[in-house]
């Protein structure tokens, strides 16, 4: 990424610390690639939750302590004793024939937990293994690195890279259940997308050593509780499409410069934090800045984006059809606001040439509703 763009992004973020991309925020890239506001906030490393809160829309994405505890306990159980349970399901459920298994924990290097040190050791070991020089099968907590929009991001998978038949497989351990061989598609999706970031990072790392992408499988292994028990089971997830999608989205980030160029001079989302990380920037001023950037609100943003409540209130204020979601938008292609649609329906607005036909349909619908005794 070129320097002026980077400077401009830094100015957008202002005095706050840069938030690095994580596997989680990379996954979020796929949900709404069109949204300029989200793209700018993410690529500038701004703290969306803090910004939304300051603008008066605290984000609702807390995590329950029960879910956290369950997740941690399950993972610990699967990995206990050199991943004994993990090996059991790989053998029994996925019917993989495993040779003698060597297990290496890359959590720290002789007590040194610094990312770059761990990354160097991860690289050393995995490249050796890929070249057929290692005898280990399981690599716990490898430290991977991905370059996103010109910035280095360390990805620390709570996962295991697992090598069989000369290929690495990424193993994701999740605590949502697999009941009768099915799991929640949304949860599988988000788990897989995270795993895809690791697949891409792992491939990038091996590529440096001249090893081709086929050394890393795009079949993810998902390990999760079986039915209502605490015992793990496993399933393959075909991640080919998601790897391709995420690769595409990462390439898009590199084009952030096109968006940045269109921003007004001096625009910033700086919160002007004080020594205790309390924002000093007046909320109205911040909102004014946010309002200057296009946002593509979709109702399902409420499920994953910290800015969603802010964006919804903006869409409501504009009477934007985005508020109602895609089903209604689909009907009213080309019309953006409720005001416009209702004006045409009631014959209070004269349609432009493009709108003639939509106006006819709207007036017919309005007549039908009037026939029924409804308003319109």
């Amino acid at each position: 990424m070129n320097a002026p763009v980077d400077d401009r992004l830094a100015a957008l973020r202002g005095s706050s610390r840069r938030l690095p991309y994580s596997a989680r925020s990379l996954a979020a890239l796929e949900n709404n690639p069109r949204c300029t506001l989200r793209a700018l906030l993410d690529s500038s490393g701004s703290d969306k939750a803090a910004i939304a809160a300051r603008a008066g829309f605290p984000s609702p994405f807390g995590q329950s302590t029960f879910a956290l505890a369950r997740g941690n306990a399950f993972e610990a159980m699967v990995k206990a004793n050199g991943c004994a349970e993990l090996l059991r399901v790989l053998r029994e459920t996925l019917h993989l024939t495993l040779p003698e298994v060597g297990y290496i924990d890359l959590n720290d290097v002789g007590g040194d937990g610094r990312p770059d040190v761990r990354h160097a050791r991860t690289t050393h070991l995995l490249v050796r293994a890929a070249l057929g020089q290692g005898d280990s099968t399981l690599y716990d907590h490898p430290m991977l690195r991905l370059v996103v929009g010109g910035h280095e991001v360390f990805l620390e998978p709570d996962l295991v890279a697992f090598r069989i038949d000369d290929r690495f497989h990424v193993v994701e351990i999740k605590s949502f259940p697999i009941i009768d061989e099915q799991a929640s598609p949304a949860q599988v999706r988000s788990a897989t997308t995270q795993a895809c970031a690791y697949v891409i990072a792992l491939r990038a790392m091996l590529e440096q050593a001249g090893i081709g992408p086929q050394a890393v499988s795009d079949q993810i292994i998902l390990v999760a509780p079986k039915d209502f028990t605490n015992r793990p089971t496993a399933a393959f997830v075909d991640a080919r499409k998601q790897v391709a999608t995420l690769t595409r989205q990462l390439e898009r980030i590199a084009r952030i410069g096109d968006l940045v160029e269109l921003l007004p001079e001096g625009l910033t989302f700086d919160l002007n934090l004080d020594a205790d990380d309390r924002p000093r920037r007046p909320a109205e001023e911040l909102t004014e800045a946010l309002d200057q950037v296009d946002a593509t609100y979709r109702p399902d943003c409420l499920n994953h984006c910290e800015m969603a409540f802010y964006c919804r209130s903006r869409a409501r204020a504009n009477a934007s059809l985005d508020v109602l979601g895609p089903a209604v938008r689909e009907q009213l292609g080309g019309i953006d606001t409720a005001t416009m649609a209702l004006g045409l329906a009631r014959g209070q607005l004269a349609p432009t040439d493009d709108q003639t036909e939509m106006a006819v349909a709207l007036r017919h619908a309005a007549r039908l509703r009037a026939e029924l005794g409804g308003a319109a």
Partner: protein, 446 residues
């Protein structure tokens, strides 16, 4: 240009057919699958296989998916094998077109009892599902990728062995019932019958017809790359075999003429309307598609091909307009009437679903993503675009509003992901990109 290195497509196709027929005569397999890309001679194969089986003393049945397909097969069989007694099994309210009643060797009946003297019996899957008890040695299941697994289950007891023929690149069967309860099961009833059958019978041979006799050399590589990325196929004709020429010079109507000229010279054209978000019923898009057809008819064109080496004037029935939605088809028909062209009524206008299996000289496509703000799974479906862009022998003209590139670029990917279910390929997004990249080279701004 002659390419001496590529093998003669006819030889490759014959070899494939010989291998298929050998499998039919062998007794090792309960089923044989033939994947056929667009225009690869699927119907010819069905007719030939039926004749081979009857020659060997079998009394095969043929299962097709629609009454039109059944009629076409009956006529093709009757013409090719005048000595064969052919039965057409039909529902009580089916009125056979005159052509089906015409050949001396066909009879129409509503039950098998009416057709006891027939050596081959042809009917829709729905009609076969109403037959009880009788069993036959062989069934030829045509368009079997469009037949749902639950339909196969209703008719499978009627035959011992099956020849499954179909195009895996076309539209999948669907259900309006939104449930994921069967996802991942080998016998998911919403899947197509071939996939389910193969899932339970991994040893069954799968053949591929390697040559498209329909698609011109200008189209085969793109369609193959976009929709058949793993198997692939080649055009059966060579460069220069197919050509079109106007009968009259163009005047006025510059952008329509420019688009037609592009299509005539290159086999493809993208008629691109100004960028705008519009409902799918957008008058301008719909009218443009109709106007292109009318303009083509008004100017007159002569098409040369391997069947008509001296050229043949293009008729209205040689042209189709393909759309995604039924209401669009209705509007295109109305727009054709508005053009005032006397032949316009005979231009075939239909949705991708209904154009499956059909063939035309020139096809005008209203791009499923044109003018849209969001791409839904329906509009992105690879099979839909595949059907629309692979019906033509001469040229394909796509009408679209500018902006599809951006739409694809910013398409969110939020499809659910299931355990142990292979990702579906070709991916609609990727396939759309391939086709769009091709069209970009044939773009005419309107």
């Amino acid at each position: 240009m002659t390419d001496l290195l590529t093998p003669d497509p006819a030889v490759a196709a014959d070899a494939a057919i010989a291998a298929i027929l050998a499998d039919l005569n062998g007794t090792r397999h309960r089923g044989v699958v033939v994947d056929s890309p667009p225009g690869a001679g699927k119907s010819t194969l069905v007719v030939r296989a039926a004749a081979e089986l009857t020659a060997g003393g079998e009394r095969p049945i043929i299962v097709a998916q629609t009454n039109n397909q059944v009629d076409d097969l009956v006529l093709a069989l009757a013409a090719r094998h005048p000595g064969l007694a052919i039965g057409r099994l039909s529902g009580s309210d089916y009125v056979p077109p005159a052509a089906v009643n015409a050949p001396a060797n066909t009879s129409v009946g509503t039950s098998l009892a009416d057709l006891t003297g027939c050596q081959v019996i042809v009917g829709t899957a729905a009609k076969w599902a109403s037959v009880r008890n009788d069993t036959f040695g062989w069934a030829i299941l045509d368009e079997s990728y469009q037949m749902r697994s639950d339909m196969l289950l209703q008719i499978v007891e009627r035959f011992d062995r099956g020849l499954f023929v179909g195009d895996p690149g076309q539209l999948d069967p669907f259900t309006v019932v939104g449930t994921e309860r069967w996802t991942g099961l080998p016998h998911d009833p919403t899947q197509n019958g071939v996939t389910v059958m193969l899932e339970h019978n991994p040893g069954i041979p799968v053949h591929r017809l390697p040559v498209s006799w329909r698609l011109p050399v200008s189209a085969a590589p793109t369609i193959s790359q976009a929709f058949y990325p793993f198997s692939g196929f080649a055009a059966g004709t060579r460069d220069g075999t197919r050509a079109m020429e106007f009968s009259t010079a163009g005047f006025g109507n510059t952008d329509l003429d420019e688009t037609l000229a592009m299509a005539f010279t290159t086999g493809w054209a993208l008629h691109e309307l100004p960028r705008r978000h519009v409902p799918r019923t957008d008058t301008q898009t719909i009218q443009t598609a109709a106007d292109l057809a009318a303009r083509l008819l008004a100017r007159g064109a002569v098409a040369t091909c391997e069947r008509h080496l001296g050229g043949r004037p293009l008729q209205a029935s040689d042209i189709a307009i393909g759309v995604a939605h039924r209401d669009q088809a209705d509007l295109v028909r109305a727009a054709l009437t508005r053009t005032g062209n006397p032949g316009a009524a005979r231009v075939a206008v239909d949705t991708a679903n209904r154009l499956q299996g059909r063939e035309f000289e020139v096809v005008i496509v209203v791009h499923p993503l044109s003018g849209r703000r969001d791409a839904t799974a329906f509009h992105l479906e690879a099979g839909r675009l595949c059907v629309l862009t692979s019906r033509h022998r001469q040229a394909c003209i796509v009408v679209a509003r500018e902006g599809i590139t951006d739409l694809l670029d910013s398409h969110p990917s939020t499809d659910p992901v299931h355990l142990s279910v292979p990702a579906k390929f070709p991916d609609g997004w990727e396939a759309n990109q391939v086709v769009l990249a091709k069209l970009a080279q044939h773009r005419v701004a309107a």
